[in-house]
Amino acid sequence: MNIVVCIKQVPDSDKVTIDRETNRLNRAGVPSIINPFDENALEMALRLKDLHGGKVTVLSMGPPQAEEALRTALSLGADEAILVSDRKFGGADTWATSYTLTLALKKIEEPIDLILFGKQAIDGDTAQVGPGVAHFYGVPMITYAKSCEVIDSGFKIQQVTDHGYNVWEVEKPAALTVVKEANELRMPSLKKKLAAKKAVIPTWGYEDLNPEDEKIGLSGSPTKVHKVFAPPVKLNKEILSGEPAEMVKELIYKLREKKVI
């Protein structure tokens, strides 16, 4: 079985802050990681491979440094990695990213059985690239997958919903976005780590993918960032300290004043 996992390198959002004066992100010194949900997608792929054999390819679009994320994926057990990178692809929103990733998938020679995505990327939290690629590539899509079992007709998927879960049967090839609850991650092995360091990772750029110019990068992106600003802070707050009984009394008094209790 051939599985492709789309992984994105993201800044560790735990450590990103905003400069309240310039409204710019402080990204210096912020480590880059594999988008956490993509790790679960990769783990799902590796487990399917453990059970059924086949090949796991990781695909990432980003600046040259995104290669690190791909090497990490190789050290965890992915067989091959492809980096999609070109200045012309820069500034892509989810629409243009979906389009570009689809061209890369189409360039992969072996027929693909399953394409996996993380539930969402933690930098933008949009959760749009998975469904976008699925449509462009022409395969059915199940979002929020918690488990994936191979059956005769294709795959049997458990999908997390707002109130419980659904079970789907979907034909092959298919695309899934994967949630964190799907699995626990494995550790990289030393041997694979060494091999990953030496692995040759092909980079596919503009010439390789031969895209329609108006569909890539900034110009292919319908959405634009209009402005970025720091989340508002509350003024007029009241911080109380002292004896619990007194504090609570005062709080309740104030809440009744506001007529909220």
Binding site: D123, T126, T223, P231, I239, A245, V260
Partner: protein, 332 residues
């Protein structure tokens, strides 16, 4: 761009039941309609739409695009995307709003690529720029560390998903009637590539959490699963629900249905009481829009105090039971 001056709200339904978010979207859509002069419409794809129409009108829809087909009883991405894409291409609305539910977050991105529309996910604020005729879509990014306003200047429709409980629902009243446009979309040609074979509703608790006017949430400071009793006691006396930080869920003290935050539920109660929660940005992402926030934490530097209206610095094990006692005394 010669689009129809309409704002559409996707009226998400399953088995003939409208999702709660639909009413929040209509309420917010009304404000946008007022500001832009556009007409607010609901788009309803279902097996039998009529019984749902009245409620849509009551919340402000002036017009309903009604598509019926037995195959639209429950959600299936291929069918619904085909229906909405067809409608968009025929009617060319300016704006479409969807709930950021499991369904909305499958449907909207598919429709966006089908028509080269812009889509902004998980908006927490919507506004209309009357000068440029564009929708201003504001949302948190980088786990809530920053806010970004996204626009879609050159493509139509402008589409956004909105999480539940971000906007308040406000009924217009019992509206006499409105315009219903029955549209037939032929989906017989859409091949069935996936089939839903089971649908399980698991929990009851989160229903409370989303609808609750009061939420009392516990964090790592609660200390043990047993101590959640104190949180629950306060929630009970207030007639509210119990929330939790991810740290307590990860520790196995409480089920994940209670988790509030980026990877949990977004809530918007009248009062949110955070007990022993530090206020990590991912937690704030789920509760920041509560009307009033009360923080109880022994560390006066905890970031939760930055978003609190009232902060109580001290040990929650003393304060929370005291709070419960005094409320009980008040009610007695």
């Amino acid at each position: 761009m010669s689009t129809k001056k309409e704002i559409w709200v996707y009226a998400e339904q399953e088995n003939g039941h409208l999702a709660g978010t639909v009413f929040e979207l209509l309420s917010e859509g009304r404000k946008l309609a007022e500001k832009s002069g556009f007409t607010l419409c609901a788009v309803l794809a279902s097996a039998n739409g009529k019984p749902m129409h009245q409620e849509l009108f009551n919340y402000g829809a002036k017009k309903i695009y009604n598509v019926e087909d037995p195959k639209l009883e429950t959600y299936q991405n291929d069918y619904f995307a085909k229906v909405i894409d067809t409608l968009i291409k025929a009617e060319e609305p300016e704006i479409i709003l969807y709930g950021a539910s499991t369904i909305g977050r499958s449907l909207a991105p598919t429709v966006a690529v089908m028509g080269w529309a812009g889509l902004t996910a998980d908006c927490t604020e919507l506004d209309f720029d009357t000068e440029r005729n564009i929708l201003l879509q504001t949302r948190p990014a980088f786990g809530g560390n920053i806010m970004a306003t996204i626009i879609c200047p050159d493509h139509r429709p402008q589409m956004a998903t909105v999480r539940s409980n971000v906007f308040k629902k406000e009924k217009v009243g019992e509206v006499e009637t409105g315009e219903v446009i029955d549209v037939t979309v032929d989906i017989s040609g859409v091949r069935e590539r996936m089939k839903r074979i089971e649908s399980v509703v698991e929990e009851v608790n989160t229903v409370d959490l989303k609808a609750a006017e009061f939420i009392v949430s516990g964090g790592r400071g609660v200390g043990s699963p047993e101590n959640f009793d104190k949180i629950e006691a306060l929630a009970n006396i207030l007639g509210g629900a119990v929330g939790a930080s991810r740290a307590t869920v990860d520790a196995g003290w409480i089920s994940h249905h209670h988790q509030v935050g980026q990877t949990g539920k977004t809530v918007c109660p009248l009062i949110y009481i955070a007990c022993g929660i530090s206020g990590a940005i991912q937690h704030l992402a789920g509760m920041q829009s509560a009307d009033l926030i009360i923080a109880i934490n022994k560390d006066s530097d905890a970031p939760i105090f930055d978003v609190a209206d009232f902060g109580l610095v001290g040990c929650l094990h003393d304060i929370v039971p005291e709070f419960t006692r005094q409320i009980a005394a008040l009610r007695a």
